[in-house]
């Protein structure tokens, strides 16, 4: 930039290119392993150039892992979480920022605190709630001596169980709040002067303005929910109907039979199938993804 420094420039290029290769090698190895037959992939040292069995392996892995079904499930979960999160986050941020009521600071903090504890650390009790969602309310009613028979609602083995607990965090709400606070007051005043109510203002002024935020949040949430692993693993026992793509990876790791060589080419083909959607999303929507990462700050 400021001065010429050919030696350092060469070093910079060398460092960056070597790092690039080192960072991408795992992707390459997965791809190469997915393209050989069973015998070749188990050779030591393994071949470093792709073989000719790629599509064969992918289709074997696709059938074995029941991917037609599980990819659809993962897609439903990812779209559900993304859509639900955007809807709920934008609505609650709108309520906190644009309405003047006493409890709103409390509400904000109650939502904000959820950023602290990710699902993984409160996994056991959350599982217990998902097994009987209305139990908290039943116990509260009991506490007041009211025994209204709430029905049992079991979320295990269902899409709602896969989706709803993942939406219950503050990520998006915080992002939307920050954005709404930057929207100039004059806009609100003008809208009110023109006779627009809150719903109309929200739909026709705020939402169009927040498109950028929405795109950023959506890419992040899509990748995040597609990659969920522990939660689906716990609540889905009906594997034939509700298994998600990441869960299938556990089944292709080396089998329990001792001395059986693991079928690495099929395992790596399954891995490729599972990692393709989030990688595609991040590459195609790279701008939004990076923006989302930085603005949600997790």
């Amino acid at each position: 930039m400021v001065e010429r420094n050919p030696i350092l420039d060469t070093f910079t290029h060398a460092l960056l290119i070597i790092s690039l290769i080192a960072l991408l090698i795992p992707f390459w190895i997965v791809f190469v392993a997915a393209s050989h037959d069973f015998h070749t992939v188990n050779q030591v040292p393994m071949p470093l150039w792709p073989g000719s069995h790629f599509f064969e392996n992918i289709s074997t892995a696709w059938v074995q892992g029941n991917f037609s079904r599980v990819m659809l499930n993962s897609m439903i979960v990812a779209v559900g979480v993304t859509g639900g999160k955007i809807l709920i986050a934008s609505l609650s941020a709108f309520s906190i920022v644009y309405f003047n009521y006493r409890l709103r600071t409390l509400m904000f903090w109650l939502i904000f605190i959820t950023l602290m504890l990710p699902l993984e650390v409160r996994i056991v009790p959350t599982y217990a709630v998902a097994a009987d969602v209305l139990r908290p309310y039943r116990e509260i009613l009991n506490l007041f001596g009211l025994s209204i028979g709430l029905p049992e609602w079991n979320m295990l083995n269902s899409y709602s169980g896969l989706i709803l607990p993942l939406i219950a965090t503050a990520t998006g709400t915080f992002l939307y709040r920050q954005f709404f606070l930057t929207v100039p007051d004059e806009l609100t005043e003008a809208a009110k002067m023109d006779g627009s109510g809150p719903i109309r203002f929200f739909l026709e002024v705020l939402l169009p303005l927040s498109k950028t935020n929405m795109a950023a949040l959506a890419t992040i949430m899509f990748v995040w929910s597609w990659n969920q692993y522990l939660w689906p693993l716990l609540i889905i026992t009906d594997q034939a109907h509700y298994a998600t793509a990441t869960m299938q990876l556990q089944k292709v790791v080396p089998g329990p039979v001792f001395g059986d060589p693991p079928i690495w080419n099929i395992a790596m083909a399954s891995n490729l199938i599972v990692l393709t959607p989030p990688v595609l999303v991040t590459i195609l929507l790279q701008r939004w993804f990076v923006r989302g990462l930085i603005s949600t700050d997790k």
Binding site: V2, T12, L16, S19, L20, L23, L24, P26, I29, Q43, V44, M46, I88, L91, S92, S95, V97, Y98, F99, Y101, R104, L110, I111, M116, L117, P118, V121, R122, V124, P125, A128, V129, L164, A168, T169, T188, E189, G197, F201, N227, L230, L233, T246, L249, V252, V253, P261, P262, W264, A267, N271, V274, P278, V279, V281, T282, F289, L293, D297, K298
Partner: protein, 294 residues
């Protein structure tokens, strides 16, 4: 900061915020409260309500050497993977920020590993570092038995650290690069005028200016290594060999769902929660001091 122009329809305000509050009450506050309750009570052997036992569950947990093993493994894992991935990421960001020809390419590729699911990373690394097939197995050809994560705890630990660090490098890189790019060019140029070379400017100007980001990333990385490591550990080692890679989240999962001991799992969860809350508080302190130069 408050809005000057607000709406006054309180029913609407309540209706808008209700879905979020319902969700976080059901899936966040109630379970967290329940974890607290379970941690201080024991399930009665023949059903019925739980019995209050105070600190007993914590005493059971703390007197178990296996628990301290998992704490040690988790901390070691957190520190080594964080140090490794932050070190590499800051180096890469500093050199990409020199903006030589082609620097855009790196921006597009370095963060790719972060898009992967933890179990996908785990599976890839399990193959790459497998002792009898894959990439690293070649060293066993030359020195038989040198590398075997299935039997050697150290090898297995190195494997999960590399997997976690690899996954986080891209994330850290993005943040470092954003921080570096928010430093005005004039600062570096002034340094150059005073005769500071490229490396000297990196060390004396750019690095000090991005320390807020560094602190922020340290906390994020440690938290992530506590939380996200489950997928990597579950696929690569299953906590083995001989518990060498059993991190805290994995032990909670194992005691709670395989051992069906909710009370012990809850007590461990509480400890982990406190740890993460402490880290988050540290993070907020540093976020407040985060510097923006733009």
């Amino acid at each position: 900061m408050e809005k000057r122009a607000t709406f006054s329809n309180l029913w609407l305000a309540a209706a808008f915020i209700a879905p979020q509050m319902l969700l976080i009450f059901t899936f966040f506050y109630w379970p967290t409260g329940e974890a607290l309750y379970w941690a201080v009570s024991l399930e009665a052997p023949f059903g019925g309500s739980n019995e209050w036992v105070g600190w007993l569950n914590f005493q059971t947990v703390f007197s178990d050497p296996k628990y301290w093993d998992s704490v040690r493994v988790s901390l070691l894992f957190a520190l080594s993977s964080t140090a490794l991935s932050l070190g590499i990421a800051v180096l890469l960001a500093l050199f990409v920020d020199r903006r030589l020809a082609g620097h855009q390419v790196y921006k597009f590729t370095f963060f790719l590993p972060y898009a992967l699911a933890a179990p996908a990373v785990g599976l890839a690394f399990r193959f790459i570092f497998s002792p009898d097939a894959g990439f690293v197995s070649a060293v066993n050809r030359i020195w038989p038995g040198l590398w075997n994560p299935a039997f050697n705890g150290n090898d297995a630990f190195i494997m999960i650290v590399l997997a976690q660090a690899w996954m986080m490098v891209g994330y850290n890189f993005i943040f470092f690069l954003a921080a570096l790019q928010s430093i005005p060019r004039t600062v570096s140029e002034a340094g150059a005028m005073d005769g500071a070379g490229v490396l000297r400017r990196m060390w004396d100007i750019q690095l000090p200016l991005i320390t807020p980001t560094l602190f922020f990333l340290i906390v994020i990385n440690i938290t992530d290594s506590f939380v996200n490591s489950f997928g990597i550990v579950d696929i690569t080692t299953g906590g083995g060999p001989a518990r060498a890679t059993e991190v805290m989240v994995y032990k909670i999962y194992f005691d709670g769902f395989r051992g069906k001991d909710y009370s012990l799992a809850a007590a461990q969860s509480i400890v982990l929660m406190l740890l993460i809350i402490a880290l988050t508080f540290i993070q907020f302190r540093f976020i407040e001091r985060r510097v923006h130069y733009s």
